[in-house]
Structures are given as C-alpha cells and as structure tokens.
Amino acid sequence: MPTAEDVKNRIEAAIPETTAEVDSPDNVHFNARVVSRAFDGVSRIEQHRMVYAAVGDELGGEIHALQLKTETP
C-alpha cells in the first residue's frame, strides 16, 4: 500500500520542477498540493491528468481517492 511519501516521490519524479505536499490519514485517501513550472500554460484538466499518470494505476483502486490541488509557482 503506497504511503504519502511514495505518492509525493512519484509525482516529483515524474513531473519536472515540481514540489508536492502529500498527506494521508490512512494510505487509502490522499490529499495533494502540487506546484510545478510544468503546469505553466497547461489546462487544469491536463494538470490533473499529469499528476494522475504520475501516481499510477493504483488510483481508483488501492488509492481510493486523491484530493488534488495543482498550481504554478
């Protein structure tokens, strides 16, 4: 089961120039705030898709929910 730290590392590894703050009370529900220069000029839908892709296939399965806020620095 992924931890908040795992999810943070995946996001920061997959998207360049990114800082992610991730917390989870139970390793099933996650809350993430992701700030990235890579989001510049990218629609919010695509920003979320980038993060979802970074988190991986567990999203919707083992990762029950990822509450997400994306921002540019």
């Binding site: 919010r44 839908i45 979320h48 509450q67 806020k69």
Partner: protein, 138 residues
C-alpha cells in the same frame, strides 16, 4: 472478449454524453450519493439553476471502466458539459468557488453554498432521473 468494433457500454456512455448537455457520472444518485466526492459535486450542480443528467456508475463495474477509458480520467465523479470533460470533484469545486462553473453552465452564480444531500432527502427539482446506462444494453 474485447471487440473494438462492438462496445455497447462505451457506445451507451458516449451517447449519454452527447445527448445530455450537462451530465454527471457519480457513485450513487444526487438523492442518495454513495461517496463524499460525488455528493459534493452533485450538490454544487444542484445549487445551480440548471438541469443535469446523473449516471450512477456503481451498478455495473464496466460503466466506470469504459467511462475512464473514454475520458482518460481515472476517478469518479466526472462532469461533462457540451460533450467535454470539465473535471472531477476538485476541479468542479474550484470552478464553483471561482464562478467559472456558472460560466461554463451559462447560469448565474448561486447565492448560497451547496448543501450535500443526505440519504433519505427528497430529490431536488431540476434533476432528471438517473440514466440507467446498463438498461440500454441489449
């Protein structure tokens, strides 16, 4: 067996998105949402002066699978307006707060905060009956 040429569930989903200007795929129904994210998103829509169709994805796991394949979006809820994916719970909430959601829907921003519907409440006015996508399968 996966047959690209014949995928009735995906076709039914695509048709529902095309036929309904505002359509929400959710867990449960607006009257009885089965997940907090779906509850919040449908409450935001219900506070708007707009009709929307709601599809409960829970009755058949294939609905969610095909929807996510179609929309390239992994989670539920998913809101579509004019055939386009607007977003999931977080984006809809942000757009509600900023007034963008009202803009996309072409309605005035409501004065009141949306109240998530508790199970057992009567359905609000303006919500069409949930589409039973599974019922469209022959």
């Amino acid at each position: 067996m996966t047959d690209q040429a014949s995928n009735p569930i995906r076709d039914a989903i695509a048709e529902a998105i095309a036929d309904n200007r505002v359509i929400l795929f959710m867990k449960g129904t607006p009257e009885q949402p089965m997940c907090g994210f779906s509850a919040r998103t449908s409450a935001a829509l219900q506070s708007m002066d707009t009709q929307f169709a709601a599809v409960d994805i829970l009755p058949d796991p294939r609905i969610r699978q095909e929807l996510s394949a179609l929309s390239d979006w992994p989670t539920i809820p998913q809101l579509f307006v004019d055939g386009q994916l607007v977003g999931g719970a977080d984006i809809v909430a942000e757009m509600y707060e900023s007034g963008e959601l009202a803009g996309v829907l072409g309605v005035a921003q409501p004065d009141q905060e949306p109240e998530p519907v508790e199970a057992g409440d009567n359905g609000p006015v303006g919500v069409q009956s949930p589409l039973g996508i599974e019922n469209r399968l022959s």
